[in-house]
Symmetry: C2
Subunit: 525 residues, 2 copies
Amino acid sequence: MIELQGRSLIGAQTGTASGAEFHALNPATGERLQPAFRCATQQEVDAAANLAEQAFSSFASSSGQTRAALLRRIATGLEGIADQLAERMPQETGLPEARARGELGRTCLQLRLFADLAEQGHWVDARIDRADPQRQPLPKPDLRSMWQPLGPVVVFGASNFPLAFSVAGGDTAAALAAGCPVIVKAHSAHPGVSELVGRVVQAAVQAEGLPEGVFSLIFGDGSTVGSALVKHPHVKAVGFTGSYSGGKALMDIAAARPQPIPVYAEMGSLNPMVMLPGALDTQTEALAKGLAASVTMGTGQFCTCPSVILAIDSPALDRFLTTLEAALSDIQPGVMLNPGIARAYHAGIRIQGAQQGIDARLSETGEGCKARPALMVTDAAHWCGQPLLRDEVFGPSTLVIRCPDQASLLDAVSALEGQLTATLHATESELANWPELVQSLRRKSGRLLFGGFPTGVEVSHAMVHGGPFPASSDGRSTSVGTMAIHRFARPVCYQNFPAALLPTALQDGNPLKLWRLIDGQLSQQ
Amino acid sequence: MIELQGRSLIGAQTGTASGAEFHALNPATGERLQPAFRCATQQEVDAAANLAEQAFSSFASSSGQTRAALLRRIATGLEGIADQLAERMPQETGLPEARARGELGRTCLQLRLFADLAEQGHWVDARIDRADPQRQPLPKPDLRSMWQPLGPVVVFGASNFPLAFSVAGGDTAAALAAGCPVIVKAHSAHPGVSELVGRVVQAAVQAEGLPEGVFSLIFGDGSTVGSALVKHPHVKAVGFTGSYSGGKALMDIAAARPQPIPVYAEMGSLNPMVMLPGALDTQTEALAKGLAASVTMGTGQFCTCPSVILAIDSPALDRFLTTLEAALSDIQPGVMLNPGIARAYHAGIRIQGAQQGIDARLSETGEGCKARPALMVTDAAHWCGQPLLRDEVFGPSTLVIRCPDQASLLDAVSALEGQLTATLHATESELANWPELVQSLRRKSGRLLFGGFPTGVEVSHAMVHGGPFPASSDGRSTSVGTMAIHRFARPVCYQNFPAALLPTALQDGNPLKLWRLIDGQLSQQ
């Protein structure tokens, strides 16, 4: 049982009580939760960054086994406080206990997946181009390259995934696996869960005999502490999951630094779902019910919530809407994560419902932190003409776009900005006959689904959870799955280096048994 | 024999003569070269971007064989006009004919290397995580991902590599191999060479039956046309090689777009060379002479010119300086690429020579486009204290930093910003005993050399020609070698997609015989 202290964790130390005080709030009851938490001071931010910088060289040259051991110890440690997390997380977020336990499982799975990745080591993409001293007109040098860690990384905890995208979430796991020290800015809505997880990570760093600066946890309410972290010269990359305004602000701060650094911000998405007649006509009921469940999962607070549905007008679409409206009406109001998110949801639906051409089927979303699902219907012309309709309303709502024909559906798709996901409900032959639709959605999204619903993001090797701006700051990257490790690394090339000075991954004899590209040919020799 | 027309190439069309007129200048003679060239108008910029956008879908889904055939045809076409290029390039750049022929060879080698890469297809990093419908609590979906092209790319021609980093240079080859249409902004100092190469690319696109928008060449003097291209909403990435101020301006424009896009700007470097006593004492003469040759190669106009030398004070360093000064004095003045670059070189050396603590051994650089080598000497304290000394002076100059001891040498290294290269001259045991030095240089550079000189950048699989800012805008990338293809692509994931709708690279049975990651295991099955 960990007793909460309400202070930042600066390496192995506990922060001071000199910063401003804030409390977590139970969104279900309005109750102020104990203890009080203290915002980190600028001195504490500097101390964490300095410790991370000091830790970098040795952690960067640690073995994959060392990093794997750290990640596995964190996972085991979190499982050891599962009951405490399952108690505190619902208090701070309104999410049910089952969700807390499920998300813990996912978090530990992520940590162990990155442990395996670090241990196996293939991710470094080792390449060797052998020398040819006889080459004319100039000798060919020996060149060897591999991906190496960037430096200290700042990770922002997400409000909607207090475990899987927060203190020991995907970005932290990826950064530690890559060999980067991590400074987490805790989300101020769930500081208790953040401290619990942070203390487990802190203890794991110590138990593995690693430099304390490998991990710090910083509390702050508002944006001051977060900006100070992103501006810090020792920080070399940023991971963020949250709102567009929050993510864009970090992108701008990072781009304005004397030395700009990469920001990986996952900023949400409308997750368009396109239903063609071949699927809609035959699965009307199932699609409507499945959609109602997907839209309201986690009270709509997933970045993969399907918020826009595009379909060609038809009697089946009318039946679909009737069933969807009924299914959404039947769903009990959910508790949103915090008052700010709930306020934004109620206001967003009010604004969306007041737009011209909107048929507000369900728009009484309730008040306070309780939220009912919303359902809006419009047509392709209004959708294309009103950019405001394309703003994400974070919560359990969806907007159905009636399209008179194929051409207007393609126009409606063209109006979409970058997306995390796009889902197609259609027959194979419908899509084969309409390649422009698939091509258009592919250009706009990180993940394309055939059937099903976008909620539920598998943690695996092939997953891409990212997408063109504004879904994320950098569509070339993913925040879920093993490809994420390359966020926090860059290739470094060694020319004519003596064997003894080369990183192990690049040495002759391949002591780590890596897959390596030797003169352009993959080989495990 | 191609007759120069002095117009932009907008897809298959030749641009209008309505824009402002400019001429190339022979830097050796001051002669204005014919014909006159016309800047593209905003309408022509729009037309090129629209054609590129129209070409994208079909080019993006073309096979690796198709792209390889295009790249090889461009290489063959360039070899077919070798004599014309070898005549025009020296006129426009002051570079000797042998350099033109050598650079043409390198350019064709790059094109063919990317042709092989596209044809083999492994670069797409195909991944398949197989479904498990029985998994509890939820079925596991079928997930397949691969890298796919970003969209139209703008490439800026470089002044110092009229062939290898210009119209059909590395970025163009990488973008075409990835499946991205390319719009090149020609460098206004060598428009004739640019048109010659552009006409070959234009003809190759046509001969391969590809949409005309796959390639356009845009002329413009000053920054107006370049900014218009980077701001264009159809453009999805930018490649640039040139000055810090030029690259940073493009980074800022791209970051301020409604949809920010990646800019890969290679902005030069000091290319520090560290000489430890074990090497300096025994190879004094050879190091001095080798350095003189490296500094003055191409009249110092390589981004890998070694401009800063760090060494511990010793009698050997004095002998090294004496030999270096004599060797540099013996080198005949070279013709710089254009009057702007020459002016900046003369001014840069004047400013550097006037700084406190600078011993200006050679500072009479001449005037006009002719330039003599410069040699400056200072000590670690002045180097660390004066940021101005760390500005790159583009041209045949080098600055030697005398360091009283190891600690001050490490301080001098710490003062360095990001670099393309760092070169170590030392014995193995010296470096083994001083891991901080190698670590510090590794964090700051894209390529680390043991011995030798950084000029000469091999085009291969393991090469990294990039480095932390300000050497490049994005240290996670390279502008030379096959890794560069990922600049212009992003991963896309397909969930539960029917076989017939999957890209060939992701289909069961592996029709392209790619190396793929199947459930986390590399396999060619």
